[in-house]
Structures are given as structure tokens and as C-alpha cells.
């Protein structure tokens, strides 16, 4: 009884079994049509059959761990930058002012991007998601140029906040 069990559980048969299953699944995916249902707010976006596996984005350290490290390093760097900006003035330390402005805009961009990924993911919003991403990039570019112009042609960010606060 036990020896027959050992004979039955052979590795080649298991591999052939798996290969057969995989070909059936590929067939099923090829046969299933893309759903043409209108999206209902809060509802699912059925693509393919209900038994198709969830697709995942390709793993990449640029969008994964490097992004995470950069985000935290930037946030940590903002702490001494802001403290320094509080105690000095923009006119005396214009480079500090510029670095603070750039860091704040980069930090804001990353924050906005996380909101888009959380609430307007392209998987669920195939048009609005990417549109928001590109709008954000354009806005970040415009804001960077604007801050640069303000720091160059005007009194600078820290000086403005100081003067408006004590106006």
C-alpha cells in the first residue's frame, strides 16, 4: 500500500501535469474577451476572466527601494534645512534658500505622486491616472521654474515667509 503510493508520486508526471495545466490556462486567457462594461464608481474593473491572475508591475529597484530611500533621505534632509532657514535669512544665504526651495518642491512632487498612485492608479483609471501623472510633472516643472525666478528676481522664499509672517 505504501510502496504503491511512492511509485504513484513521481516527479516527471507532476511536471507534465503542471505543463498541461499551464497550456490550458494560456488557452483560456486567449479565448476570454476584454470586458466592455462601463465602469461603475467603486466597482471592479473586470479584465479577462475572473480566474485570471492579477498582473503586477515589473519589479524595478528604481521605482522600488531606490525610490523609498530617496524619499526618506529627502525628508530627513528637510529637517536641518528648515531649521537653518528659520534662523537665517534668505538674503544672507541665497544658496540655502535655493536648496530649500528645490527640496520642498521635490518632496511635494513625491507626495503628490503617492496620492495619485493611491487614489488614481492607472490600473483602475486608465485615462485619468496617467493624465494626472503628466499634469503633476508639468506642474512640478512650472513650480520649479517659478521658485527659481522668485529666488532670483525677488527676495526669495524664506525672506518672503519671514516678512509676511511679521507684516
Amino acid at each position: 500500500m505504501s510502496t504503491s503510493l511512492l511509485v504513484r508520486s513521481s516527479l516527471p508526471r507532476a511536471l507534465a501535469h503542471r505543463a498541461a495545466l499551464r497550456s490550458v490556462a494560456v488557452q483560456a486567457r486567449a479565448n476570454s474577451t476584454v470586458s466592455e462594461h462601463k465602469y461603475v464608481a467603486g466597482g471592479p474593473i473586470p479584465k479577462g476572466g475572473p480566474n485570471d491572475a492579477v498582473t503586477f508591475p515589473p519589479p524595478s529597484p528604481t521605482h522600488g527601494s531606490y525610490h523609498w530611500v530617496f524619499e526618506r533621505t529627502l525628508a530627513a534632509a528637510l529637517v536641518p534645512l528648515t531649521a537653518a532657514a528659520f534662523v537665517t535669512s534668505g538674503t544672507n544665504y541665497p544658496i540655502l534658500d535655493g536648496v530649500l526651495g528645490l527640496s520642498l518642491i521635490a518632496h511635494s512632487h513625491i507626495g503628490f505622486d503617492q496620492c495619485i498612485v493611491d487614489y488614481l492608479h492607472p490600473r483602475k483609471f486608465p485615462i485619468l491616472g496617467p493624465a494626472s501623472s503628466w499634469t503633476l510633472r508639468a506642474a512640478t516643472l512650472a513650480a520649479t521654474v517659478g521658485i527659481f525666478q522668485f529666488n532670483t528676481n525677488d527676495i526669495g522664499l524664506t525672506e518672503l515667509i519671514a516678512k509676511v509672517w511679521t507684516a
Partner: protein, 180 residues
């Protein structure tokens, strides 16, 4: 595609299979392990079945989750961090883009003039409305960085640091508002 499945006590079977030879011919063992064998056939669902299932999925409601979760310091603090961050960033982006588009209207002298001519109460209220989100976001950011280095990652840690952040935010907001 047919597959033979052995239903029943598979773990017991495995143990019996690898038990020492003296135990294998045990009549007791043979009688306690029941084994049946069935044939199963996989029928992959075609596109018609998928269409029906997808129609059901569209109509199927989801149970309340976000609307019924009890307010807690953990997630209220988290969403407050995001809301304050987004608010401050919208202000920063708004001003930068406004200055880029219309530098004559939004240059520093005009802005300072407009603010100076506001009544005192409005000035204090405005300063508090700016100081409170900034203080909360900055101090809660420190809490986040502490978590990222592996500290306070317990329920107790989250609550203790959370209340500390709230207290520090209150003190900081008042202090910043009162700067003349």
C-alpha cells in the same frame, strides 16, 4: 484532462509511507488510514461564462469598510499627515506657478502689502491656519522617520508617539502664531 486525486488523510499517508519498515505491515495502521481515489476533470470556463461572471461582478456591491471604521489615532493621524502635506504643497505650487504666470501681481511687495492691510484678527487666524498644518506635518514627519529606522513600531509606540506629536503640534502652532 484527467487527474487522479487521493482524498483523505494525506499527511497520515505520507507519515505511513515513510514510517520504519517494522510499522508498515501493522494491521492497525492499515485499518486506520482510509483512502479513496477519485478522477477529476478540469473544464476551463469559456468567454460566455466569463461574460456572465463579469456582469455579476459589476453589479455586486462591496460591504462598507472605509465609512464604518472606528476613528483611531493611527489612521486619523495618517490621513491628517497626507491632508496637511497636500494642503501646504498646493499652497507652494500655487504661489510658484502664480508668480511664474503673473510676476507683477504676485511679487513680494504686493503680497506683503496685501497682508499688512488685513485686520489683526485675520492676520492671527491666517498665521494659525498656516502654522498648525505645518507643525503637524513636520513633527509627524519625524515620527515617520523614526518608524523608518525601526523604532516605535508597536501599537503602544504608535500611540505614545502619536499623543506626543499632538501635544508638540499644539505648542508649536501657538508659538509660531505668536511670533511678531
Amino acid at each position: 484532462m484527467l487527474s487522479h486525486k487521493a482524498l483523505g488523510l494525506s499527511t497520515a499517508l505520507r507519515q505511513a509511507a515513510f514510517a520504519p519498515r517494522t510499522l508498515r505491515n501493522n494491521a492497525l495502521l492499515r485499518n486506520t488510514i482510509a483512502r479513496r481515489s477519485v478522477q477529476t476533470k478540469t473544464i476551463p470556463a469559456g468567454p460566455a461564462a466569463d461574460a456572465i461572471l463579469n456582469q455579476q461582478r459589476i453589479k455586486r456591491p462591496s460591504s462598507p469598510h472605509f465609512t464604518i471604521y472606528q476613528p483611531q489615532l493611527t489612521w486619523i493621524g495618517s490621513i491628517a499627515n497626507r491632508v496637511t502635506g497636500v494642503g501646504l504643497s498646493v499652497l507652494l505650487y500655487g504661489f510658484s506657478i502664480a508668480y511664474l504666470v503673473a510676476p507683477g501681481t504676485f511679487d513680494s511687495t504686493h503680497v506683503i502689502e496685501v497682508v499688512r492691510d488685513l485686520p489683526e484678527a485675520v492676520k492671527y487666524a491666517g498665521k494659525f491656519i498656516l502654522a498648525a498644518p505645518f507643525s503637524f506635518h513636520a513633527i509627524n514627519g519625524l515620527r515617520h522617520l523614526a518608524w523608518d529606522t525601526g523604532h516605535f513600531l508597536t501599537v503602544k509606540g504608535a500611540y505614545v508617539t502619536g499623543y506626543l506629536v499632538l501635544g508638540a503640534t499644539a505648542v508649536s502652532s501657538v508659538a509660531l502664531t505668536l511670533i511678531k
